[in-house]
């Protein structure tokens, strides 16, 4: 196929209207040959004097701040430069944000665990402030005054009381030679002009006109397209395949085996490489691979959950053990003894997994890494025998925008696969996973079982609860946990509830099903079981669930404040009509506290989610509009897991494949109204990418119980059947 009237080479996508610079593609001349164009990455086009790797000021007044953290929807493209700009004393409209490549000079560029703002807030303020200090010093020297007679505002240094100013661009040459202070003074929060205010995201203009560059959009000259047929069961070996038949499809260029590593397990699939993606897919259909996978056909969701429920009857490893729960349960006047269960889930990023790699004959490499861990240079260098100190010079890695990540893109298996193909062919190759590959091949969110018990005395007061969680762990999939609780598995279980006897345990289950970080990870599953059960306990104790939590969480003033605010904003105490129900939940995870109140209504023969009111305490926030957006998104992501699909296994394979049998929440099913309120305080910044998720499913089932009296303990469930 050939388009006749198209300039496929992409030039610098400079967007005047947004002040954001994205991708470059002067592909083929980029490396090595003397006298040819060497500029390849966006930062190669930045002109001016770098005061550090992040801030460059040009004599024409352009102030460039590099966006170095992968943007997957969380607004970080804007947020980190905003933190720098705040302390640097420049306005956002004076700044051009340029997308960086992957490089060690930017520090660690992997994202996950709602970590970016939390870990970069302080260092990036310091960087901005230190940069401002050298500009102040340069001005002071020029005026022959002391630095404290100078102050900075909107890219100008002012000399106190004189009305004189010097612009940053006129100071940058001398500032570059001034030693950077190690402990610059930071602004007090009350002086913030950018942090804490809603700023428009500079990547968004590109995301409403199709110009944003995602990994799947990479189009270097001479590109070939690849698809891979992998074993339909979780593991298996290739016995044979029909290479000739696939090669016979018009446009198919090559057929080869490719290995994928998932938590130490290596699996081989067959790649079909063609001139275009359609031809590759047609060739793939002809492969007729015979697999040796009989021994892996035993894996099924049924046996998985049966085994885990058995395990839940045994003692687990103790996470919290206060009082003596067994005694209080044995002597209880009244009891609750129930089991909660949640299935595996797929991340289902809107942009399916993909990668583009070009390994050249001269051992240089260009990579488009739609990844949450894009610094792949050293790994590729080892493969190619490139010395480590040459890795960054010879291997260039673009950071495209990511069409969602949710943890999935912290595993680089698509890059691993694509690298093998390109390294064999020495041609640029784009590997695209079909949606079916993406849904069924994993890794998945864990499936969990939670055995929950509570004891009550004869006055109806709750005297103790026990939460026994059984699941695989992520970090111990390819090793033993040595009798220790893996660090990730207890996230989202609130240990602060004041029960005289309080027991929290973990039982580790081992399985061949690969699991991986999935938005809020164990917070999503633990938060559901724990907060739904707390609600059962409150209702059985004849208490209002919100007052009950306030009472039992007195030791945690931040949580109480969040509940008080939720009480007010949601009008919690207002009596509802017969056709209405309400429920709430509160979970602390990834450094932030989020409470949701869900309101349900019977309408037109069904049940609708009429409103979700949220209160978020994430400490200091950078962009309140984006903190709200992340919470809205978490609500939808969590509701999808509660109400729509589940990944189930039968005969060793996932039974779901695409959005027709693995459903996503759609606009007509989404809450009619979402209101997100942010607490205003001076606490350290907490995460925002995940903490909004864990409390939504429990708030929902608690509202269902309020509406119908029926407890939902197994997800997903059908809201129209309650």
């Amino acid at each position: 196929m050939e388009a006749s009237k198209i300039n496929r080479r992409k030039f610098m996508k400079l967007a005047g209207m947004s002040g954001a610079v994205l991708a470059i593609g002067f592909d083929s001349f980029a490396f090595g040959k003397p006298g040819t164009l060497k500029r390849l990455m966006a930062e190669d086009f930045v002109t001016g004097t770098p005061l550090n790797p992040f801030v460059v000021i040009a004599e024409d007044g352009t102030i460039t701040i590099m966006a170095t953290v992968p943007e997957l929807g969380q607004g970080i493209f804007q947020a980190i430069p905003a933190i720098i700009a705040e302390e640097l004393e420049v306005d956002m409209n004076q700044v051009t944000i340029v997308k960086s490549s992957a490089s060690r000079k930017y520090g660690r560029q992997s994202i996950g665990g709602s970590r970016s703002v939390r870990s970069l807030y302080q260092p990036m303020r310091q960087l901005g402030a230190a940069t401002k200090e050298v500009l102040l010093e340069a001005a002071a020297q020029q005026w022959g005054v002391s630095k404290d007679q100078c102050y900075a505002k909107s890219g100008l240094v002012h000399r106190q009381g004189s009305g004189e100013t010097l612009a940053y661009q006129d100071l940058v040459a001398s500032a570059a030679n001034i030693e950077v202070p190690k402990k610059p003074r930071l602004k007090p929060k009350k002086d913030f002009k950018i942090i804490g205010k809603a700023t428009e995201r500079t990547d968004l203009p590109h995301k409403v006109n199709g110009k944003a560059d995602y990994g799947i959009d990479a189009q270097p000259d001479g590109l070939l397209y690849a698809t891979i047929e992998r074993c339909p069961t979780l593991q298996g070996k290739i016995l044979s395949f029909d290479k000739e038949a696939a090669m016979a499809v018009k446009g198919v260029k090559e057929v080869m085996t490719v290995t994928r590593t998932v938590y130490g397990k290596k699996n081989t699939g067959v790649a079909v490489i063609a001139e275009n993606f359609y031809a590759a897919m047609q060739g793939r259909k002809k492969l007729n691979i015979k697999w040796d996978n009989a021994e892996f056909k035993k894996v099924s969701s049924k046996s998985y959950f049966d085994d885990m429920k058995k395990l839940a009857k045994e003692d687990g490893l103790s996470h919290k053990d206060q009082g003596d729960f067994d005694v209080s349960f044995a002597s209880a006047a009244d009891k609750l003894d129930v089991v909660y269960e949640q299935p595996h889930q797929s991340h289902s990023c809107m942009e399916p997994m993909n990668a583009t790699v070009h390994v050249r004959e001269n051992n240089t490499v260009e990579v488009w890494a739609p990844s949450q861990s894009p610094q792949v240079q050293r790994q590729f260098a080892r493969n190619l025998g490139i010395p480590e100190n040459e890795a960054e010079e010879k291997i260039k890695v673009h950071l495209p925008f990511l069409g969602g990540g949710f943890g999935r893109r912290s595993m680089n298996d698509p890059l691993e696969e694509c690298f093998q193909i390109s390294n064999t062919l020495k041609k640029p190759v784009k590997l695209i996973w079909s949606r079916e590959d993406d849904t069924a091949q994993g890794p998945f969110r864990q499936g969990t079982v939670h055995a929950m018990k509570a004891s009550f005395d004869n006055s109806g007061k709750a005297t103790g609860i026990q939460h026994k969680m059984v699941s695989q762990a992520i970090t111990t999939q390819s090793r033993s946990s040595n009798g220790k609780i893996p660090f990730e598995v207890m996230e989202g279980i609130n240990t602060h509830y004041d029960f005289k006897n309080y027991s929290i345990q973990y039982g580790e289950y081992k399985s061949q099903i690969p699991i991986h970080w999935w938005r809020s990870v164990f917070g999503s599953t633990n938060g559901f079981a724990h907060e739904a059960f707390i609600d059962e306990v409150a209702v059985k104790a004849k208490a209002d669930p919100l007052q009950f939590r306030k009472e039992k969480l007195k030791s945690e003033p931040r949580q109480v404040k969040v509940l008080e605010r939720l009480e007010k904003e949601s009008n919690w105490s207002k009596k509802l009509g017969n056709n209405e129900g309400k429920g709430l939940a509160i979970v602390e995870s990834f450094g932030s506290i989020v409470a949701h109140a869900v309101f349900l209504k019977r309408e037109g023969g069904g049940v609708i989610i009429s409103k979700v009111v949220s209160v978020v305490d994430c400490g200091v926030f950078v962009n309140p509009d984006q903190a709200r957006a992340q919470t809205e998104g978490n609500i939808i992501y969590g509701l999808t897991a509660a109400l729509k699909g589940a990944i189930t296994f039968k005969d060793g394979a996932a039974e779901q494949s695409n959005f027709d049998n693995y459903g996503m929440l759609r606009i007509n099913e989404a809450p009619r109204d979402i209101q997100v309120h942010l607490m205003d305080n001076d606490e350290a910044p907490g995460g925002m990418g995940e903490p909004g998720l864990p409390p939504i499913a429990p708030a929902l089932v608690n509202a269902v119980a309020n509406l119908t009296g029926k407890r939902i303990r197994k997800l997903p469930f059908d809201l129209q059947e309650v």
């Binding site: 799947i216 189009q219 809205e632 939808i636 959005f659 996503m664 007509n668």
Partner: protein, 157 residues
């Protein structure tokens, strides 16, 4: 292989392709307009939505042979300066998160407003239910469609 004449965003293109090739891949990889996205390939997600003679269709499920000679509009053809009222409204409410679904969302919304400049919430549900947003921006999308509708009826651009 056959030769097809396509009209995309009022520009003529000629492509060589197998007749069954999904229009989506021709638009993206042969014509080079990558704003239209691949999400599912089976008309379930709407990421690939384009206008065919003014109607929103899923380009992953239309063979190139069926699109030949028709008027096609992609996200790139909506405006070249983000001036279309739907794009403006999308920016007003800061609708996108990762942004990957948004070309499709915007094309569905633009087609809706073209036919029905004052959609109710139920109209929006109906027209937009074919577009999945995994980031969960539905709340803002609904707001943006109402904003665009108001701006259109107030005569602003």
């Amino acid at each position: 292989m056959a030769n097809y004449k396509l009209n995309i965003n009022n520009e003529p293109y000629e492509v060589e392709a197998e007749p069954q090739t999904p229009l989506l891949w021709v638009i993206r990889d042969e014509v080079g307009l990558t704003g239209t996205k691949f999400g599912c390939g089976i008309a379930q997600c709407g990421a690939c939505t384009v206008h065919l003679n003014g109607t929103a269709v899923r380009s992953c499920s239309i063979p190139v042979s069926a699109a030949s000679g028709q008027q096609l509009t992609t996200i790139e053809g909506l405006s070249d300066d983000n001036s279309h009222p739907v794009q403006q409204a999308w920016l007003d409410v800061q609708a996108p998160q990762c942004g990957y679904c948004q070309s499709g969302q915007i094309m569905s919304a633009a087609a809706l407003l073209e036919k029905n400049p004052k959609p109710t919430d139920a109209d929006i549900d109906q027209a937009m239910a074919g577009n999945i947003c995994r980031c969960g921006t539905y709340h803002r999308i609904r707001k943006a469609i109402h904003t665009a509708s108001n701006n259109i009826s107030n005569g602003s651009k």
